[in-house]
């Protein structure tokens, strides 16, 4: 079974985000870049499938050279090889252009399953997975928390949580699955794994290598433009529910949830 994992590098969620002087981008100087946490779930699930069915796990990343470190991290976790789509012309591309480049990098590879994170934790758009599936003309199974590939490797049964219920979906393979939190606990890159990863192949591809026209990529080709970035509003102080007894407090809480928060 051959599995592809798409990987994005994002600012560490612990990073302090500052908005740049242009008002539409963030200051990247002091940012620590990490593998998108949802993509880590994808890597882990791919490795589990490989352990069960054999085959190869290929990690496909896109972005500047620094993304190599995240691909090598996936290789250290146990993936077999990496592809980095990197080209100056990609800088500032929107989700659709990104998906086009990734789909072009994947289309000639052999695959049964493709994993992407359900969204990147930076832009929070959740578009690339769906667009890649569309461009490759394969089914997309989104926000998945459980993956069960049939013994014969031809179909997959997945679970998606919806409003307290679970939707069980079956699909033919190949298919693209977007990983949701709860799918698994990603393993750590072990020390022996890190040493082995040094020798694993990692190929770089430019837009030209993929037969793509550079004018369709980058900031100028964006269909979706960012007009303004603003920091989230400062969190307001919490409210302490008053009451003499637990019963009184519970009644007061229910009343507040109903009348003030309007969630009940």
């Amino acid at each position: 079974m051959n599995i592809i994992v798409c990987l994005k590098q994002v600012p560490d969620t612990e990073s302090q985000i500052k908005i740049g002087s242009d008002g539409v981008s963030i200051v990247t100087d002091d940012i620590k870049w990490v593998m998108n946490p949802y993509d880590e779930f994808g890597v882990e699930e791919a490795l589990k499938l490989k352990e069960k069915f054999g085959g190869e796990v290929t990690v496909v990343g896109l972005g500047p050279k620094r993304v190599t470190e995240s691909i090598r991290t996936a290789l250290a976790m146990g993936a077999d090889k990496g592809v980095l789509v990197t080209d100056d012309a990609l800088e500032g591309s929107d989700a659709l252009a990104t998906a086009k480049a990734i789909a072009a990098a994947i289309k000639d590879l052999e695959y049964d399953v493709i994993f992407t994170g359900q969204r990147g934790v930076d832009d929070d758009q959740g578009l690339v997975g769906a667009a890649v599936a569309e461009l490759l003309d394969i089914p997309q199974l989104s926000l998945i928390t459980k993956v069960e590939v049939a013994e014969d490797g031809n179909t997959v049964k997945v679970e998606r949580p919806i409003e307290g219920e679970t939707l069980v979906i079956e699909s033919s393979l190949p298919a693209l699955i977007t990983a949701q939190k709860g799918l698994n606990e990603p393993r750590y890159a072990s020390l022996p794994g890190i040493m082995k990863a040094k020798k694993k192949p990692l190929e770089e591809k430019s837009l030209g290598d993929l037969g793509l026209d550079a004018s369709e990529f980058g900031a100028d080709a964006r269909k979706l433009k960012i007009l303004e970035l603003t920091p989230p509003p400062a969190r307001e102080a919490g409210k302490i529910v008053e009451g003499e007894t637990p019963q009184e407090k519970a009644a007061e809480l229910a009343k507040l949830l109903h009348e003030e928060a309007k969630v009940l």
């Binding site: 020390l191 040493m195 040094k198």
Partner: protein, 383 residues
């Protein structure tokens, strides 16, 4: 000159940091309080590959360089001193002497299980009456036919009485040299050998979740082939082991200092007094600035010492400097961190309290700060 780490070293740091934050931090306080060595976290550290870091793959090690070893130790120490002690002692003191001085048979026999972390090994140097004066070892070994008969005791030996411990390296007097001074040799004693007992020590101020032992040898007989390297080389072997060990103690000081600083910076930005975060008061901001500065300098001297070792250049002076400086930097950082936490810093609920205690060992173990100053003084030609 290039100050950047390799990509593997960066990945290693991220991975060990995540591991320490997720697997060690949540249990560290309770293990400290109960003074318990955790077999669960030991198993997880072993699975990550934290043992045998600088040992060749041939014996089951990871074949990494000393900078990588320092980084991994640093990242564990950033979260907890006890676990870092288990790793540092396991690698430098347990595995080190066997790897550097053992015969091929001894390496094949012991290293694979020590490198996989299925087993631990103790380093028996210190005795009740031989601390800084380590060559004054009173433990004796007398050759009887093809067996050494060992009598004596050792104290403060890390990792020597866990359920996983498969043996210890013990420094013994094996005779008298031609110049009249004692002949000292290292002898390997396997756990379970009759006449050998390792007893866990309790009541420690610090490193309470690491395993510390007293060793007793009472007519303990081991075969002649358990001699480590040539007879009479024991003291030299022990001192060479400590040169390497100092790098890992330095890494513990550096990581601990970083841990103190990270906690202090976070707390100081959140804690409000007189209507603003306490980090906005210059008196506090300067403490944090000093900590950041000292940590940066400590990291430079430690990594340089590791780099010298990796380049097979003399590193003894820099190792002593790194051990001395990193442990003293952690002393100052722990002190500032508790001060910045105010009353809360005195409570076990806050990790800086544990860092404050754990720090003290670093100025005492593997050669006191005073001994490091003697080593440096001799190496610069002052003594």
């Amino acid at each position: 000159m290039d100050f950047s780490l390799s990509m593997e070293q960066e990945i290693l740091r991220n991975s060990v940091r995540d591991f320490a934050e997720n697997e060690i931090k949540p249990v560290a306080r309770e293990l400290d309080e109960k003074e318990t060595f955790s077999y669960d976290t030991m198993r997880k550290m072993a699975a990550l590959g934290l043992f045998g870091m600088f040992v060749s793959e041939k014996y089951g090690g990871q074949g990494m360089d000393y900078i990588s070893y320092a980084i991994a130790t640093e990242e564990i120490a950033r979260v907890d001193g006890s676990h870092a002690a288990t790793v540092a002692a396991g690698n430098s003191l347990g595995i080190g002497p066997l790897y550097y001085f053992g015969s091929e048979e001894q390496k094949q026999k012991y290293l694979p299980k020590l490198c996989s972390g299925e087993a631990l090994w103790g380093f028996g140097l210190t005795e009740p009456d031989a601390g800084s004066d380590a060559s004054n070892s009173k433990t004796t070994a007398v050759l009887d036919g093809d067996q050494w008969v060992i009598n004596g005791s050792k104290i403060f030996i890390t990792n020597a009485s866990t359920k996983l411990t498969s043996g210890v390296t013990s420094l013994c007097r094996t005779g008298t040299r031609e110049d009249g001074r004692p002949e000292l040799s290292c002898i390997l004693v396997e756990a379970g050998t009759p006449g050998f007992e390792a007893r866990e020590m309790h009541g420690k101020l610090m490193w309470r979740a690491s395993n510390t032992s007293e060793l007793y040898f009472d007519d303990c007989r081991v075969p002649d082939e358990n001699m480590l390297g040539p007879r009479g080389n024991g003291f030299h072997q022990m001192m060479q082991t400590l040169d390497g060990g100092r790098l890992s103690i330095g890494a513990m000081g550096l990581g601990g200092a970083q841990g103190c600083y990270d906690l202090a910076l976070k707390y100081s930005r959140e804690r409000t007094q007189f209507g603003k975060p306490i980090s906005n008061f210059q008196v506090n901001a300067f403490k944090l600035a000093d900590m950041a500065l000292e940590i940066e300098c400590a990291r430079l001297i430690l990594y340089k010492a590791c780099w010298l070792r990796d380049q097979q250049k003399p590193f003894g002076k820099e190792a002593a400097m790194a051990k001395l400086h990193c442990s003293e930097v952690m002393y100052r950082c722990a002190n500032h961190a508790v001060q910045l936490h105010g009353g809360y810093g005195l409570m076990k609920e806050y990790d800086v309290e544990r860092f404050y205690r754990d720090q003290k060992l670093l100025e005492i173990g593997e050669g006191t700060s005073e001994v490091q100053r003697i080593v440096i003084s001799r190496l610069i030609g002052a003594l």
